[in-house]
């Protein structure tokens, strides 16, 4: 076996797990064993993939031995490998969490197979080097996430799911049309090959297509002004599903933007990336203001996803105001990638905490909650760390993520986005403090009697809910106080992104141009 096997494993393993757990759908135990085992293997495989990609360079596998650009290639550069590693971590921790958090009814209706398909779809989207294949992975993800969203079939879920599916189908149609136009212009679907053909092509059509991709991925990422589907749907499904969606799904959109707008659409940076920059600023401001008005635990967290996406877009948009090969550009992209990593960890963790709170007190409404600091100090501490990390206080991961993005903004002389970036950080703190005051600090409201289980002995079954939260909290602390190695990897990823020739050479689509005219 060659080392390239590593590239296909993160896609192959979830599909094998999905098939096995579909065939054992009658047995809850077997499904759980496959769930934990399959995601553990995925986690290990993704660790090895990142390690190998970091040390040996970009890995490429040509599916079915069809040479690029004719066949589909899977490519693992550092950005892909980092995102796949995050998929592995999230898959594993959320499956552990759902062992004690998920209703057995859901498990009967295919919770685990759908989870595996979702992991496979996300990993496929991160790894593929073919733009039509990217569309296919988005659809795999959409189908799996739609089915997970409606598991249980309550009224609120249906309402959220309809908005979710409708807007995502609109996004898919735009995506598909853009692929069609791009194929018409370049005659290829391989992303590296498209990048080669588009180099120096100063056609206004390219910008039009770039904007179509931006709208499509912007919808998927939840960016301004097309984010309204996200707060309408993310708080409705079972909490483990919400946590996985919140952590991973919007980031696939962000990843796709990072990939497209560093590899392919780099000719009209002033125009396209400026739009991304200001969309990012508006996204973070509207997201944080929307969250300030909410009084439901999961809704606050959901709307905050949007404001966090803004920082990632801002990092990408800063390329409009720097020389693309400069260190500022590398810092901006590395900051954006580090922000994605930090946000996946912290956001998922906050959702997991809200699930524990709901199990203890039976509600997500802030007005019905309270008194947890007195009864569950350890849980309060876990929430406190993640909340401060989300708001960006040192020495946690959120601080360094924001620091890198803001610093890049300063070096690119973009005072207004930087100002809003800092302001939004402060407002995020307001929302987090609001949750802290209501849920943990103040005593329980008088008309809500304290549930028995608050004072009872510690229930050993909840270990499966606490373990992932503890692990992710440690991760956010480590990414802060000992973040240097992680940031080094992000910087290396940023350097790969500003120099697309590495990616193009690894895929090498020009080697087989004996059929085309040979541009």
């Amino acid at each position: 076996m060659n080392v390239e096997v590593l590239v296909v494993l993160p896609v192959l393993l979830p599909f094998l797990s999905a098939a096995l757990s579909l065939m054992t759908w009658r047995s809850q135990v077997a499904q759980r064993v496959i769930g934990v085992g399959g995601t553990a293997l995925l986690f290990v495989a993704s660790c090895v993939l990142l390690y190998t990609t970091y040390h040996e360079g970009i890995l490429v596998m040509e599916m079915s031995n069809w040479p690029a650009p004719f066949g589909i290639v899977l490519v693992s550069d550092l950005l892909s490998a980092i995102m796949v590693l995050m998929t592995g971590i999230m898959a594993f921790t959320v499956v552990i969490y759902s062992l004690s958090a998920t209703d057995p009814e859901y498990e009967k209706f295919g919770y685990y197979p759908l989870m595996h398909l979702l992991h496979g779809g996300v990993a496929g989207a991160f790894l593929t080097g073919d733009i039509f294949n990217l569309f296919v992975w988005f659809e795999v993800m959409l189908m799996a996430s739609f089915s997970l969203l409606i598991l249980g079939g309550s009224r609120g879920q249906m309402e959220g799911a309809i908005k979710y599916v409708t807007i995502n189908l609109v996004s898919s149609v735009i995506f598909l049309s853009a692929i069609g136009l791009l194929y018409g212009m370049t005659g290829t679907l391989n992303m590296a090959h498209i990048a080669v053909v588009l180099q120096g092509a100063e056609s206004p059509m390219v910008t039009v297509v770039a904007m179509m991709f931006m709208v499509s991925f912007g919808i998927k990422a939840g960016s301004f002004p097309l984010f309204f589907w996200l707060p309408a749907s993310y708080h409705t499904p079972p909490i483990a599903v919400s946590a996985l969606f919140a952590g991973l799904l919007t980031k696939v959109g962000a990843y796709a933007l990072f990939r497209m707008f560093t590899l392919m659409f780099m000719d009209d940076v002033q125009f396209t990336h400026n739009i991304i920059l200001w969309a990012g600023v508006l996204t973070m401001v509207t997201g944080v203001l929307g969250a300030a008005a909410q009084f439901e635990f999961r809704r606050i967290l959901s709307i905050h996803i949007i404001s966090q996406i803004g920082y990632m877009l801002m990092a990408l948009g800063l390329l409009a105001h720097t020389d693309i090969r400069s260190e500022v550009a590398v810092l901006a992209l590395a900051g954006g990638i580090f922000y994605i990593v930090h946000n996946i960890v912290v956001k998922t963790n906050l959702f997991l905490v809200s699930g524990v709170v709901n199990q203890l007190l039976g509600s997500y409404e802030l007005k019905k909650l309270g008194g947890l600091y007195r009864h569950k100090p350890f849980l309060s501490l876990l929430f406190f760390v993640s909340a401060l990390s989300l708001a960006g206080l040192p020495p946690l991961s959120g601080f360094f993520a924001k620091f890198a993005v803001i610093r890049a903004g300063l070096e690119a002389y973009q005072w207004v986005p930087v100002f809003f970036g800092l302001l939004v950080g402060a407002l995020t703190l307001y929302s987090m403090v609001k949750i802290w005051m209501y849920v943990f600090w103040r005593p329980l409201p008088e008309d809500h009697p304290m549930p028995e289980r608050l004072n009872g002995k510690w229930d050993p079954k909840t270990i499966w809910m606490y373990a992932p939260i503890i692990v992710l909290t440690i991760a956010t602390i480590l990414l802060g106080v000992y973040g240097e190695p992680a940031f080094q990897v992000c910087l290396a990823a940023g350097e790969q992104l500003v120099d697309p020739s590495q990616y193009i050479e690894a895929v090498n689509p020009m080697d087989h141009m004996w059929l085309g005219e040979g541009e």
Partner: protein
């Protein structure tokens, strides 16, 4: 549930079902080089079983199938995913086609390959997914 008492439909279905299933196998096996393949063959087979479902009812269709659509779906996905793995052990990319030609005394030469396995997997996935949709709808009525 659709209640069909039509004698003609009952009788015709009994004759048509095996014919359609045979035709789907024919499509499945010829599909590598000529029009056909796992997807279209799976649709034909699922159509045949859906016809049986309309002529009779859900319980008897389940009895005739023996396996549940979920199992078919899972088995198909497994076959399709596994069919790409042997190539990995030979140091080739995932899903690379491998062929074995076998000589049999009476049948002559038979070609076995990993794409055939993949096609069978697709065949089962299509049957499984179409039937689970059709059966859910039929049961919901």
């Amino acid at each position: 549930m659709i209640e069909s008492k039509s004698l003609i439909l009952h009788t015709a279905t009994r004759f048509l079902l095996p014919l359609q299933l045979l035709f789907s196998l024919f499509l499945l096996l010829r599909g590598h080089d000529e029009p056909g393949g796992g997807f279209i063959a799976g649709l034909v087979a699922a159509g045949a079983i859906a016809l049986y479902l309309f002529a009779f009812d859900v319980p008897s269709t389940k009895r005739m199938l023996r396996a549940s659509p979920h199992d078919l779906f899972g088995l198909g996905l497994l076959l399709a995913a596994v069919s790409g793995i042997p190539a990995l052990f030979l140091g080739k990319p995932y899903l690379t086609a491998l062929w074995w030609e076998l000589e049999f005394p009476f049948f002559g030469e038979i070609k076995l390959s990993t794409p055939l396995l993949f096609d069978i997997g697709v065949y089962l996935v299509v049957i499984g997914s179409v039937l689970s949709i059709v059966m859910t709808l039929a049961e919901a009525e």
